[in-house]
Amino acid sequence: MIATFRIPGAGRLKQAETARFSFDGQSYAGVEGETLASALLANGVHLVGRSFKYHRPRGFLSAGAEEPNALVEIKRDSARRTPNVRATVQELYDGLTAQSQNRWPSLAFDVSALGDIASPLLSAGFYYKTFMWPKSAWKNFYEPRIRAAAGLGVAPDQPDPDHYSARFAHCDVLVLGGGAAGIAAALAAAETGVRVILADEQADFGGSLRFESGARIDGQDGFAWAQGAVAALKAMDNVRVLSRATAFGYYAQNFVGLVERVSDHLQSPGRELPRERLWQVRAKRVVLATGAIERHMVFADNDRPGVMLASAARTYLNHFGVAVGRNVGVYTANDSAYAAAIDLKKAGVGVAAIVDLRDHPTGSVIDEARALGIEVNFGRAVIRAGGKLRVSSMTVQPKNGGGERTIPVDAILMSAGWTPSVHLFSQSRGKVAFNDETKRFVPGTYAQDCVSVGACNGTDGLSATIDEAYAAGAKAAKDAGVKNAGANTVKGIKPKVDASESWSRGMLGAAPGAGPDTTVKAFVDFQNDVTAKDIRQAVHEGMRSIEHVKRFTTNGMATDQGKTSNMHGLAIAAETLDKPIPQVGLTTFRAPYTPVTFGSIVGHARGPLFDPTRKTAIHPWAEPQGAVFEDVGQWKRAWYFPKAGEDMHAAVDRECVTVRKTAGLFDASTLGKIEVVGPDAAKFMELLYTNPWEKLEPGRCRYGIMLREDGFIYDDGVVGRLAADRFHVTTTTGGAPRVMNHMEDYLQTEFPHLNVWLTSTTEQWAVIAVQGPKSRDIIAPLVEGIDMSDGALPHMSVREGRICGVPTRLFRMSFTGERGFEVNVPADYGQAVWEALWAEGQKHGACAYGTETMHVLRAEKGYIIVGQDTDGTVTPGDAGLDWAVGKKKTDFVGIRGMARPDLVAKGRKQLVGLKTKDPKVVLEEGAQIVGDPKQAIPMTMIGHVTSSYWSENCGRSIALALVTGGRGRMGETLYVPMPNGTIEVEVTGMVFFDEKGERLNG
């Protein structure tokens, strides 16, 4: 197909290769290097989408990142479907496949466009009003329908196969925006030798020099100058130049986030290329050169495809060589749109008329337009656009009323003036100030080490812009504190502007064509379908703050964040409120400037790289044994070891019985371990744990409880005293880091006088628990230098010696109630020692057991698990652990908290055992407990189940629970109401097996 709107000789892509692409299944030809928008326009396609709320046909408003309408889906394959891509940003490549969104059954005929007729129902605040009654209808009826009919693109339903990379960077001067101002600032800074990064969101540097045909710098066309200057910058060692890189967020202390689109413009990006790269840049100084965005005119049906910003039409013509129509009309309130008319006219495009809202504008562009034979009308307004799927006419009327005249056109180019892009400045927490003369918000008070230059600073004219930017770039380099900055600036020469255009002034708010008429749709915010009428209505309904108007109307809340709409919305609200604009206030600019993919933020931190996976030294043994693993924090722990044909239940029953009958081996390596060492180690332990430690003899162990200052249990574990000045502390698996932090905090800040060192040794030791009547028989043959007899190594003692020839700390301790040992060996020997113990164990019929069996066995003995049987509101007394609190101690963390009135009051929840009346019924952990099952709902709940298991050793179910006044209820019957009926339980002690504890030495 021949691209009929491509103008021979126009634009900068004359040598470019043809790129074939499809849109909604139709094939077209474009050229590489242009945007999808440009390519569609070259083929005469203006209708590209449907609006969010009313499903109105929409075309291209802009030629850049501010685009609210032309959002399409780009599809590379079934997984790589990117919705809501701005066609004005997406670069064309051969084979690109794009689809329109938010239409059914087709773009040209969309049944939901009936919403346009029903629009009185969808007016401002419709989210809050229309769909609110009856309440249940919102969930069942309105919301699903709105979600189906409205909304933008469809999210992909497969994992993203692309990869994303990330870079941190530091520089002296970061220049954001690569138009004339940014380039001039970068040149000045770079010439001093400081580290400079220059970034621009476009593929090509130059900013508005892409279309500003009247600009000449250093004797060249403005755009050509920009290319030469950027090439010179790229050649400098101290400069990094990033194109296709959008600065989306400006954070504290000159920390700026940018996303570089690395391969979205490539036909078949290699796998080695990331799709996008996140840059996190810390800059000593930031130069903001973000330019300005043109505003549209607000008049009836200003959203018809073909109605667009004047600067967009110029970009399509001057940069891409594409005419947006054959017979265009221009509607403006400033000078810059004249340049668009002049450029198009010179390229052979018919210009039906220029309609200028101003009464008596003067200037060279106006003279030039007239000289070219263009009809120019002053003091008139376009009150309506004709056409539906494409604009067909504009209706003109003197702005103070009078006869209407309808002029046939196939495009309307509009300009209400230019809004400085203060987004990043505002994100940096700078305060904008309103310039009443030029009706613009410009940077006022700075909060960070940055400076705004050029159009984003409200500076008009290319010459003033380059002067300002060049000086600012040099100053930024100097302020960045580089010693020799400024010393060799002589080699730089400030670019000289030979010619430029004037774009100042314009108007804010609704033009006459926006009507007071309530049926008129004069759009302020295209993407969210907010009209001038909606803003006025919001004010009439009582909204006073612009923040309220914004939320009520959703003006500026779409993915374009109101880049073209905020100022108009504000002006209309101010006019309706009859208040000056600054008093109504500007809404806050928030990151991101343009939408950022989750992929770029996540980077490589996905899948197995999302979070570290910690594996024990014994993991490589357990895995081929068929262990099923569970995640405990970052750890993979062997959960149970099923034999052929066993389910979890059968495996756990077998493991539980085997441990108590013979023995079992358990990998306890994940236990937290902290070495507490120093002359004051015992004193420190006295302060951090409830128990007494001073008199614990070296070689003995004690079960320790750690509280927070509020008196609640924080952690627990067995502590071995290896020497007068050395403790081997164990913590819960999940608690290790916070216990270490807690200890360090007190040591460094509350008890700094204590001479103690703390070292985390969790990963230094592999821990093999050998538990059961045969445990000593299994270990003894492998141990050297430790007397294993009960007299020499009683329960709760620790010895250092060797096992299998390697050093060990051998603990005699039990978390099962059986005779038991925990063999600590340096982690590198963990697997070998385990295998040796396993070989010994096999001789006795021992099994390997996992965390589930460990849980059941400890529950049979009533041993608590901190974090399961306690929840941060349980005191040692509540847990039945009063015996572990040193009664004679005068201080420890939590001593005062424990004595708080509520913590010593009667009727606290206490940990008890529960036995179901039917021994086969296993309670659900977390289930609530009541005293009277017949009471009215909501019932008074007196506790909950904390641990519950089937105990094969007891031949019944067992449970632990926190129950109000629990220890006073022994033998009482309580009830656990469940969806399928109420379960009767009896309150018991917490020990279900070997109540006398004889098996510890069995």
């Binding site: 504290a252 202390q253 996190q280 932090n741 905090d745 800040t749 509350e750 700094p752 005068t890 004595a899």
Partner: protein, 98 residues
């Protein structure tokens, strides 16, 4: 991401290396067990939560692991000063006149 100066490392490092540890200069009584209910309430539960200057504790978790104190403006998020644990509240703050 904030930059925080560790007074032990004597370097500005990114926020990722640090952990906030709550308000600073809240003294734990030397005779804890004898503290009254009211004093314990003040010590354990009551925090100033100011809009403006806050004295707070930070830990250089992924650096030297030391706890230290910082003065931060909660409005601007700006750190005015950091100093070692145990040092008194600074009498004068840089830029306090602003």
């Amino acid at each position: 991401m904030l930059l925080i100066r560790c007074p032990y490392c004597e370097e500005e490092r990114p926020e990722l290396e640090f952990r906030n540890a709550g308000e600073a200069h809240i003294a734990r009584s030397a005779d804890m067990a004898a503290t009254s209910d009211d004093d314990f309430e003040k010590f354990f539960f009551i925090r100033s939560n100011p809009k403006g200057i806050i004295y707070e504790r930070w830990r250089h978790m992924h650096g030297c692991a030391r706890f230290f104190n910082a003065v931060r403006d909660t409005v601007s998020d700006r750190f005015l000063l950091t100093y070692k644990a145990g040092e008194p509240k600074p009498a004068k703050l840089p830029g306090a006149a602003e």
